[in-house]
């Protein structure tokens, strides 16, 4: 049931966007109360603007009536960043899904925020170009969401995260003003507001146009699968590869739990008796690919790899990647629930941290499946459990916190690519002091964001977020189908 203020907001939204582009019936809200993580928060209304002016109207209407507003794309976020933590209006950008311009000669594209990552990849590929950031959810996640989280992906190691590929952004600021940050060229004058905005998780404004840089598809690529006795040995090999001065384009680890799950579903041909495998890809000029591949093989052998298989064909390469991309989903076939974590550590500390993860999960009595971007030091332990077992959920969350603490103590961070969102706000104080957080608060204030503009995200404090804290204690944990 809507309060009077909300009923007014809905009426105004309907007149600005058209009646069919505003939802408010309680049953319609059910589809918008979650993202791909474990929290739930139900909005009061959902608006589907078609352009920047309509987004600005949504922002102004909610601001005028002191109603929270939260931007959302496909809802594949893994930190609760698109949850309506205090109710209010969800501003869903999926109608804004046009590729507005693609200039192959200058390697630039301009797109709307609701464009699916893979759709841009496909459009660029037609010109022999690539939009490099490739989160594993690329078949469904939007570029607006990629901007919000500064999304990475398996190929971030060589190409960098989303921020390294965004030239400029048209955004609606929290006061409803429409402006551009950055532009169509590299290195525009001024403080890097573009770079600040990317990764700000929809708390500083809502992106309405995105100008990205495309890169040429590399001339040559070599994909390898190295097979190790243990996760630790594989972790040592990661450091050994980097130490040799080789930066693979991807360096992914899958442990025996993942291998078993993937093989159960897909029969890729991963070695079932391996403690862990590394999926390693090098790309570039044909001369450097040969040299790099030889270095990778040597580094893996030196660290005790039982076998290093080099994909002989494009089909074999695609097959090896298929298993990696299906890995997270496959976990869902062997456990009722799992909790996907995202931490990051210096690459040289991977072996000891992975040992710590194994010891901690064993002590808590859970099994863990590891599938992650080892070359970036970006861990994704998946803790397997059954939420129907009394107390299991609380124990898993506690274990998740301990694993995050392990990452922080190793000189790492609480999130490598998923974001802080609502889920990890309370961990921010583990890595940042009061002055660091105060500086972040100043950014929010400088952008004119009130506490109702995507509330209860990133910063550990915030009025009216108590409800979200209470929800923390009784949240439901992930169902299969979590994206990474």
């Amino acid at each position: 049931m809507l309060t009077n203020a909300l009923a007014t907001v809905v009426r105004e939204l309907q007149s600005a966007l058209g009646k069919r582009h505003v939802l408010w019936a309680p049953e319609d809200m059910l589809g918008y109360e979650y993202d791909a993580t474990i929290d739930r928060a139900r909005p009061d209304a959902v608006a589907f603007p078609a352009n920047a002016e309509e987004v600005a109207a949504v922002v102004r209407i909610t601001r005028r009536h002191d109603v929270p507003v939260v931007p959302r794309g496909s809802g594949t976020g893994l930190a609760g960043g698109a949850l309506a933590a205090r109710g209010g209006v969800l501003c869903v950008l999926t109608r804004m899904n046009r590729i507005l311009e693609l200039d192959p000669a200058n390697r630039v594209a301009v797109v709307e925020p609701g464009v699916i990552n893979l759709a841009l990849q496909d459009a660029a590929a037609a010109h022999g170009l690539l939009y490099a950031p490739d989160p594993s959810s690329q078949r469904i996640c939007t570029l607006g969401g990629n901007i919000a989280t500064n999304a990475g992906g398996p190929h971030t190691l060589a190409h960098g995260s989303t921020v390294n590929h965004v030239l400029g952004l048209e955004v609606v600021l929290p006061d409803g003003r429409i402006t551009w940050l950055g532009g169509r060229q590299l290195d525009a004058p001024g403080p890097d507001l573009r770079g600040l905005f990317v990764g700000s998780e929809g708390t500083l404004g809502i992106v309405t146009k995105i100008c990205v840089r495309l890169v040429p598809v590399q001339a040559a690529v070599r994909t390898m699968l190295a097979d190790f006795e243990s996760v630790e040995a594989a972790s040592e090999a990661v450091s050994a590869v980097i130490r040799r001065g080789v930066i693979p384009v991807a360096l992914e680890m899958m442990d025996h739990e993942i291998i078993a799950a993937v093989e159960h579903v897909l029969h890729i041909g991963y070695p079932l008796d391996a403690g862990a495998v590394l999926l390693i890809e090098v790309e570039g000029l044909r001369e450097s690919v040969e040299a790099d591949a030889a270095q990778v093989v040597a580094a893996c052998r030196e660290q005790g790899a039982r076998e290093v298989r080099v994909a002989e064909s494009e089909a074999e390469r695609a097959r090896l990647w298929e298993g990696r991309k299906a890995g997270i989903g496959a976990i869902g076939t062997v456990t009722p629930n799992f909790y996907l974590l995202d931490g990051v550590v210096p690459r040289t500390r991977l072996p000891e941290v992975m040992r710590g993860v194994a010891e901690l999960t064993a002590r808590y009595g859970f099994r863990v499946a590891n599938i992650f971007h080892a070359g970036d030091g970006n861990l994704h332990p998946n803790i397997m459990f059954d939420e129907l077992q009394p107390g299991a959920t609380a124990k898993v969350l506690e274990l998740g916190g301990e694993i995050m603490r392990l990452c922080v103590d190793a000189g790492g961070s609480i999130t490598g690519e998923h974001g802080v969102g609502q889920e990890k706000r309370s961990y921010m104080e583990w890595i940042f002091g009061p002055e660091d957080l105060r500086a972040m608060e100043r950014v929010r204030l400088g952008f004119g964001a009130s506490e109702l503009f995507n509330p209860c995200k990133i910063l550990p404090t915030g009025h009216g977020c108590g409800q979200a804290h209470a929800a923390d204690a009784r949240r439901h944990l992930a169902t299969p189908g979590v994206y990474l």
């Binding site: 000669a105 960098g160 995260s161 921020v163 390294n164 003003r177 402006t179 940050l181 532009g183 169509r184 060229q185 590299l186 290195d187 525009a188 004058p189 001024g190 403080p191 890097d192 507001l193 770079g195 600040l196 700000s200 040429p216 001339a219 980097i242 130490r243 001065g245 930066i247 000029l285 001369e287 450097s288 990051v344 210096p346 690459r347 040289t348 971007h373 970036d376 030091g377 970006n378 000189g411 790492g412 999130t415 490598g416 690519e417 998923h418 974001g419 802080v420 990890k424 921010m428 890595i431 940042f432 002091g433 660091d436 500086a439 972040m440 950014v443 204030l445 400088g446 990133i458 910063l459």
Partner: protein, 422 residues
């Protein structure tokens, strides 16, 4: 000029031997009332707190190579020399990561990294005397930009001393991190507007196995453009593809003619093939064969690209245009028609223009760049020029101002360099 006693609170805030003679710190001919060279980040913070308390304007400086970037200062009370912060805090070669203090220069840093076969892949103007803090605060691209990630891509985190005397940090030392706002990006290109960078962490790159540079002398700039775009479209080990107009070529020590200047870096076989590709591209465009060059033209172009203090005269200016690669030639021709030396880096989409200071010419070229969806920044020039032409031409001014009000409400750091009172 502030009365000498006004800077006493700063003297009280720092150990006695931190003060320097103010004569050595003039900017645009204006001498500050006092100059200090702190030895730690805490001392930088203490100096800023004292200055804010006393209502003084502080101008942070490292290599002093970008002091005429921005509007001329209306107030200049205190020079903050960051040269005392020059330590390597943490170097992890096996992780390809580095944390250094802001006052360390590239010319001192790079040899240390080279010992481990690594480098910070930047070539900022005007030379490697640029400090790490200046590199980030000015964020000016070099010839490698677009082929390699630049400082703004490589920075992993910073520590900053803020105007209120507090120290804050963002990011970290890990190569992938999305925790909290990336304030290190806000400070990139900000000329200290929101705080003084005192420490920064970077991703490093392995040094290339081989490098090679070559120049092709062309009959006209269109021929040079055809070769440059041809090379850019090929899969080569290019680290720089630069178009030179006649005057720029002469300034770089080459014959007075349009040129394509290329640098290749990578594994030896790839570099050798790239040099061959340059020969073929030149032949296809009916240009003479490429001649090998050493690092000298690059050194001269870098020096020319920024600072009059390096031998220029008072009446010269340097402009940087950001335009699409396919508009590089037209932008260079427009500058040459006005009597300027012009050169352009294809992958960065940047054109540099050097010559006699003129507000009219700067305005016309800015309009030209805007027509291509690009921009123009005045990189260096006399104070009168920087007072009459907005050096930055920012599209978004209000946020720059409102963030300044949050981080430095009294305008302690570099007041007026962005816009009046900011």
């Amino acid at each position: 000029m502030t009365a000498p006693s006004a800077t006493d609170p700063l003297r009280a805030a720092l150990p006695p031997d931190r003060e320097r003679r103010a004569e050595g710190y003039a900017i645009d001919g204006v001498r500050p009332a006092a100059a200090f060279r702190p030895a730690s980040r805490e001392e930088v913070a203490a100096l800023l707190a004292a200055a804010t308390g006393a209502g003084l304007v502080v101008v942070p400086q490292g290599g002093r190579s970008a002091l005429t970037l921005g509007r001329p200062l209306q107030h200049y009370d205190v020079a903050l020399d960051l040269g005392g912060l020059d330590r390597v805090v943490h170097y992890e070669p096996n992780d390809l990561t580095l944390t250094v203090e802001a006052g360390l220069t590239l010319e001192r840093l790079q040899p240390r990294l080279a010992e481990r076969g690594q480098y910070l892949s930047v070539d900022p103007p005007p030379h490697d005397g640029v400090t790490v803090g200046g590199l980030l605060a000015t964020a000016r691209p070099g010839a490698w930009r677009g082929h390699l990630p630049d400082a703004r891509d490589l920075v992993l985190g910073v520590h900053v001393a803020q105007a209120d005397g507090t120290l804050a940090r963002s990011g970290g030392r890990v190569v992938k991190n999305v925790s909290g706002y990336d304030l290190h990006r806000l400070h990139t290109g900000a000329l200290g507007a929101y705080g003084v960078i005192v420490e920064a962490s970077f991703k490093l790159a392995p040094l290339p196995e081989a490098t090679s540079a070559a120049a092709v002398r062309c009959t006209q700039i269109a021929q040079a453009e055809a070769i440059a775009l041809d090379l850019w479209r090929q899969a080569l080990a290019a680290r720089a593809i630069t178009l030179l107009g006649e005057a720029a070529a002469a300034a770089a020590g080459l014959p007075r003619a349009a040129h394509v200047l290329c640098e290749f870096a990578g594994v030896r076989a790839a570099v050798e093939r790239s040099v061959e590709a340059l020969r073929s591209a030149a032949a296809n465009a009916h240009a003479p064969a490429a001649g090998a060059v050493d690092a000298e033209p690059w050194r001269r172009l870098r020096a020319l690209a920024a600072e009059r203090a390096d031998g220029g005269t008072e009446e010269e200016m340097v402009l940087r245009l950001g335009v699409p690669a396919t508009a590089l030639r037209q932008s260079m021709e427009a500058a040459e028609q006005r009597g300027y030396a012009a050169w352009g880096h294809v992958a960065a989409g940047s054109v540099l223009v050097h010559g006699t200071a003129s507000a009219a010419a700067a305005g016309e070229l800015r309009a030209l760049a805007a027509g291509y969806g690009g921009f123009l920044q005045v990189e260096a020039g006399p104070a009168w020029l920087r007072a009459s032409v907005d050096p930055f031409g920012l599209g978004e001014r209000e946020l720059v101002r409102s963030l300044k009000a949050q981080f430095d409400p009294t305008g302690t750091i570099n007041r007026g360099r962005w816009m009046e009172d900011v």
